[in-house]
Symmetry: C2
Subunit: 364 residues, 2 copies
């Protein structure tokens, strides 16, 4: 496959110019403000993308899950931070095995029993495991303040664990609108994390790292002197959802370019509609809005089942025939990427690479 | 992995007793009524499941896409019927290559240009390609009646194509409620297909097959003397969606058992909630309702992002702790299966097999 038009559909396309521009913009913004940059790999699950980020100055790569981190480690990606607690005997054994071959890996914890089991497994394996306390902002974690201090003391008492800092991710802040409310929300959450870090360090326990932030909040978190590193993910690709969170002017969020599209083919052309070969198996459907056609203003996509989408051509600016290829910006990038085995990296219309999404489905 | 409790989560589990009961029930129902049985592989994308169906009397396996059919052919599954038109030069070349090694494969068509290109490619390869006319009932296809006859004449005039029948799938009929409306809808649609077949045959063109039907309509279609074969898919697994279409008593549709679950682990336990490790990447989200916990009456699942779900434990009948494993019936089986690389086949709590979902993501 040499050119855009040769790629079998449905397929995931990456516009390299937009992608590189997104990486450069984020890296420059964070590095100039003295923040470490550990972008989240759950968005792309792709070692080539992780490597491009490291080449741009990232210190590593976050992973949502142990299996995702194992894939990144297999591909030589350093500086892994697993942002979900690793629970249960078998997974803890795998976590310790990963710590042995990738000793800088950081594991998030929020539960005293889990911390005890992790320490015991680390002791048996003769390794030291680096952990971060996951703070609760509505999903997983322990409450900031005294509960986090109690867990820090617990960790500090265990010989085979080292506390490296706080995982301070407020998932709901990322999509808070408008811009000013998002700013207030993340500043409020991050202030609790920074106070918690001070509380822990006043107790004599080193706690150097405060990591968090997202594509939606990076501007605010980067100005926060208490944050040591940021872990945004979606900015590499962007999607319709992030476009809607709103910029400082109250309009579309335009800090990053839409680098990711799904290309489909018109496979049937009944009665004023075009049926394309992309449905629930080609796009994530967790957002209330639907894929947006590129270069077809006035044309709307409607779901037509697992395998198909239906384009209403009533207001189409051009003729659409069987065999025509139509690209869409996906509503939500992360779970859309998780449907595909490959990413076609395009320079203009030329295929520069076919990148395996090696950690696709690696949620275990 | 020997036992249910050893399987790393999130994972897809198949209860073999329920699965075998579903297969036996459907096969017996159709075979006793003299209908051929070509279940749809888009549901399971799994050669082991296709083989179990053939062992129960199926004549083959439908595939939604060429790439899916290629995988089934690689695994020796006969009697393939590809229910979406194969569009474009490269895919037509692959289709002809598949017809060469699996000559009984049937390809759906609805477009004269596509038919001409398919014939030309078949001529170049020196093979005969079997085609079925896809009839329009709201998605893809040509209109029943004279438009279908015109396409049949077109096919009959081409030396390297053989018309084998009509693909008569009314996707919307499958989920029409209540029971009586579903009956009326499928009978109305199938009547048009059967009249179209008569029209084509009166024209001197053999058109032996009328295939269609679904897990929702099989009872009605199996009584229809004009239908020669049925192609239901979801009955092997069942899901919440099919439970809601309603049975003859107006209550839950109980013709088949829920054989498929997603198992998750509680990874965090903040404030009256339990966070499990299954979110948008563990369940398809295209239905308005959410995964249903097994054995936890009163407990509801709420989406908590790409990687997590949140269980409200206010009315929980039992304690739920970090590390507990919780299973869910998925809202919609097909796109949920498409998220996983393996199916764990369980006999009670014992893992009898780990079956690759070999055609996962093979939508091209």
């Amino acid at each position: 496959m040499q050119f855009r038009g040769d790629i079998p559909t449905p397929a995931l396309l990456l516009d390299l110019d937009a992608f590189e521009s997104n990486i450069t913009a984020m890296a420059a913004h964070l590095l100039v403000r003295g923040k470490a940059f550990r972008p989240h790999g759950k968005t792309h699950k792709c070692p080539e993308v992780a490597r491009a980020l490291i080449n741009a100055g990232a210190i590593g790569c976050c992973a949502a899950r142990l299996a995702e981190a194992e894939v990144f480690a297999d591909h030589g990606i350093p500086g892994l931070l697993i942002t979900t607690a690793v629970i249960g005997r078998d997974k803890i054994a795998r976590a310790v095995a990963l710590a042995k071959r990738a000793p800088d890996t950081i594991y998030c914890v929020d539960d005293p029993d889990n911390v005890r089991e992790l320490n015991a497994a680390a002791a048996r394996a003769g390794v030291n495991v680096r952990v971060a306390i996951d703070l609760y902002f509505g999903r997983t974690g322990v409450l900031p303040g005294p509960p986090a201090l109690a867990l820090a003391r617990n960790i500090a008492s265990l010989a085979h664990l080292t506390l490296v800092g706080l995982q301070s991710y407020d998932g709901d802040a990322a999509h808070t609108t408008p811009f000013e409310a998002r700013w207030a929300r993340t500043d409020g959450s991050m202030a609790k994390a920074i106070e918690t870090r001070a509380l822990i360090e006043r107790d004599g326990i080193p706690c150097p790292m405060v990591t968090g932030g997202s594509t939606g909040t990076y501007r605010f978190d980067a100005e926060n002197p208490g944050m040591t590193e940021l872990q945004p993910g979606s900015f590499v690709f962007m999607d319709l959802d992030y476009g809607r969170i709103g910029g400082p002017d109250g309009r579309e969020y335009r800090d990053f370019k839409n680098a990711l599209t799904v290309v489909t083919t018109v496979v049937s052309r009944p009665h004023g509609f075009a049926i394309v070969d992309g449905g629930y198996k080609a796009f994530s459907t967790d957002r209330p809005f639907t894929p947006k056609p590129v270069d077809l203003p006035g044309v709307t996509y409607g779901w037509a089942g697992d395998e198909h989408g239906r384009l209403n051509l009533t207001d189409s600016p051009r003729e659409v025939k069987v065999g025509h290829r139509i690209e869409f910006i996906p509503p939500h990038c992360d779970p859309t990427v998780n449907l595909y085995d490959h990413l076609y990296a395009l320079r203009g219309d030329r295929v520069e690479g076919v990148w395996p999404i090696a950690a696709r489905g690696k949620s275990q």
